[in-house]
Every structure is written in C-alpha cells, then in structure tokens.
C-alpha cells in the first residue's frame, strides 16, 4: 500500500508517504506493537526487513526533527538485529521492554522530585536552625 502511493512525480503522494512513514516509524516505539508484528510473522518477511533498514533514514537530523517519540529510533536500530526480532515473539520480552521504557520515561520526573525533596529538606533545616 505504501509502495503504491509512492509516486515520484506526484507531490501530494510524496507528502502522504512522508506522513505515513513518519507515523509508522514512531509506532515502532510501542513494544506491544512490535510484539504484535513479531507474532504475525512480519519480521520473517525479507521485504519487511528491508523496509526496516530503509527506515533508518529517520536518523538523519533533517528527518529526526519531525519525530515526536525519539525512542522509536532506538527500537529501529535494535530491530536491525535478527536476534532481537526473534526475541520479540515472546510476550514477556515485550512486557519487559515496556516496563523499562516507562521507568526510563519517569527518570526525569523522579530526579526532579528528588531535587525538590532535597530542597524542601534543606529549607526546613534552615528554618529550624534559624529559629
């Protein structure tokens, strides 16, 4: 389908393809979706694997700036390895990745909370010593 819309001379077609590929590559950030694809056997299709390789162009800065979910690039890199693709058939693998992703996602907010706590404690300490 994506191939059929790629018309080199058609501007609108190219823009559509751009948007489609943008959406698709970001969907790869979803480990559950990856598990879904693996279980449906898409990763065994040579054409699909080639497509994944082709999608690596999103790593260039001119394209990457359109990505809302940059984690997808890391997943895309991992997907280049056959071992990873095979592992994704397991649901536990997908779940593990999901958990790690969410934990990492919370990294900055946790850090910020810790800093706020530290700041609050220090202020308390100052107040206590002031009094």
């Amino acid at each position: 389908m994506a191939a059929s819309v790629a018309m080199e001379t058609d501007d609108a077609g190219n823009r559509l393809r751009f948007q489609l590929e943008l959406e698709f590559v970001q969907c790869l950030a979803n480990p559950n979706y990856l598990n879904f694809l693996a279980q449906r056997g898409y990763f065994k299709d040579k054409a699909f694997v080639n497509y994944l390789k082709y999608l690596l162009y999103w790593k260039e800065p001119e394209y990457a700036k359109y990505l809302k979910y940059p984690q997808c690039l890391h997943m895309l890199e991992l997907l280049q390895y056959e071992h990873f693709r095979k592992e994704l058939v397991n649901a536990q693998c997908a779940k593990f990745i999901d958990e790690q992703q969410i934990l990492h996602w919370q990294h900055y907010s946790r850090k910020r909370m810790r800093l706020q706590q530290a700041l609050a404690e220090q202020q308390q300490h100052n107040n206590a010593s002031g009094k």
Binding site: Q19, E23, P61
Partner: protein, 282 residues
C-alpha cells in the same frame, strides 16, 4: 757497515707493493738489497798473504795502501757492491717518498673521517626534524578532520531548543509529574493514537465508526488536507516539501502491516492497559 746496515734496517717502511720488477714491495726490495750488501761486504778473500782470511774491506784498505794489483774477482765484487749500494740508495729515496705519501694519506683519511661524522650528525638531526614535522603535520590533519566533522554535523542551537520544547511539552520523553500506574499515557504512540492516525485510516476509509469520537475523518480515504493540521502528537507540523523521504520503495513490496487487520473486537492486539495476554496462536 754493520752499524749503518742495522740503522738502515730501522728505516724500513711498509711501502706500496706495486711497481717493482718482480712485484716485490719496497720493503722486501730494501731487505734484499741489504742482504746483498752484507754478503758482498763480508766477502772474504781466502787466499791472501796474511794468516787469516780477510774481509773485502780490509783487502781494499790494504791494497790501497800497498797498491797491489787487484784480481778481477775483487773488482767484480767491488763493482757489484757499488751497484748494489746505488740501488739501495735509490730504494731508500723511494721509501722516503712513499713514507711522505703515506703520511699524507693518513692525514686525508682523518679529514675524511671527520667529514663523515659531520655528515652523520647532520643526518641524525635531519631525521629528527623530519619526524617532528611529520608528527606536527599529522596532528594538524587530524585537527582539520575533526573540524570538518564538527562543521558537517552542525545543527542550529535554536532548532535544537525548539525540538526539545516539542518533545518535552507533550510528555513524549518525560513522564508527566502526576503520572501514576494506571494512567493511559505512554512514551510511545498508544493503540488509540495509532488507529486514529493516517495509517490507521488508510485502509478503513468508510468505517468512521471505528474510532467514532476521534477526528480522524478528515484524513480518511487517503484524502490529503491542504493544510496538515497537527492533530496527533506525532503528525508533523511544518513539513517542507523538499524534505521527502528517500524513494526506495520500489525495492521492496510492502503493505502497512497490522492496522488493516485490526478491529476493535480483536483483543489479541496489544492493549496497553490490560495485562498482556500472549497470543499463543503463533
């Protein structure tokens, strides 16, 4: 004669070997001449009017005083002696010349050695200089390479800041501060978002009821709006026309996987909220 002959012996010089009749070195010729002289001078006349055999010298002395007739033999010996002496003198001169030449040769050799060592010293210094220069050039080249590399990868800081704003504002890379387990938001596009995006709508042109409340209709049936309104977090905002993806799509045959096979009733498809029940069918 004996004294002088021993004195002569001390003046032997190791001269150059070439150029003599018979190929003898000057030294050997001198020695042989000396021997001859010695032999001749010790030639003693057996039969004399005296009681004991006398040497030629004595004979000469006597004969000069007494003016005796000398026999032919002594004459011959005398002539030989004189001849030999002449040769000897000449050889001595030759030896002296050769000595001078040899001395000069030694002086020149020393000079040559000195120049040689100078040249070697210069060579060492040149080699050192060359090494230092080569190192300097190499490092300069490396620096240039890294400058080039940095210049190639230069991104405007404003763009980076804008991008950072964009991905942070939507909580795409940093969890919202009020996030608790159970919150449906995720660092990746969720089920719902995917289905209501362009891909999801591609093959469900007429089924508006799939994601009823979501405004995916405008993108349905593959119609491209004139202005791509940024409806979903990952849909691009200000896309330039020339920023089109490299067109290799003829290299592979492809169908957008997954979405066209989804329907709401398919619980097998990933659902981020429920506990993931692995589909055992595959």
């Amino acid at each position: 004669m004996a004294a002088s002959s021993s004195g002569e012996k001390e003046k032997e010089r190791p001269g150059g070997g070439s150029g003599a009749a018979g190929g003898n070195s000057t030294r050997e010729r001198l020695l042989s001449a000396l021997e001859d002289l010695e032999v001749l001078s010790r030639y003693s006349h057996r039969e004399t009017f005296l009681d004991h055999p006398v040497e030629l010298i004595e004979m000469l002395a006597i004969s000069r005083n007494q003016k005796l007739l000398q026999s032919g033999e002594e004459n011959q010996v005398l002539e030989l002696l004189i001849h030999r002496d002449g040769e000897f003198q000449e050889l001595m001169k030759l030896a002296l010349n050769q000595g001078k030449i040899h001395h000069e040769m030694q002086v020149l050799e020393k000079e040559v050695e000195k120049r040689d060592s100078d040249i070697q010293q210069l060579q060492k210094q040149l080699k050192e200089a060359e090494q230092i220069l080569a190192t300097a050039v190499y490092q300069a080249k490396e620096k240039l390479k890294s400058i080039e590399k940095a210049r190639k990868g230069a991104v405007s800081s404003e763009e980076i800041i804008k991008y950072a704003h964009r991905i942070s504002a939507s909580n795409a890379v940093c969890a919202p501060l009020t996030w608790v387990p159970g919150d449906p938001r995720r660092p990746y596009p969720t089920d719902l978002e995917m289905r209501s995006g362009l891909l999801g709508q591609m093959n469900n042109p007429s089924t508006n009821g799939v994601n009823g409340h979501l405004p995916g209709d405008a993108l349905a049936a593959g119609r491209l709006p004139d202005v791509l309104a940024p409806q979903y977090p990952w849909q691009s905002n200000d896309m330039a026309v020339n920023m089109l993806p490299p067109n290799h799509s003829s290299d592979f045959v492809l169908e957008p996987p997954g979405h066209n096979k989804e329907n709401e009733d398919d619980v097998e498809v990933m659902s981020t909220d429920s506990s993931s029940s692995s589909s055992d069918s595959d």
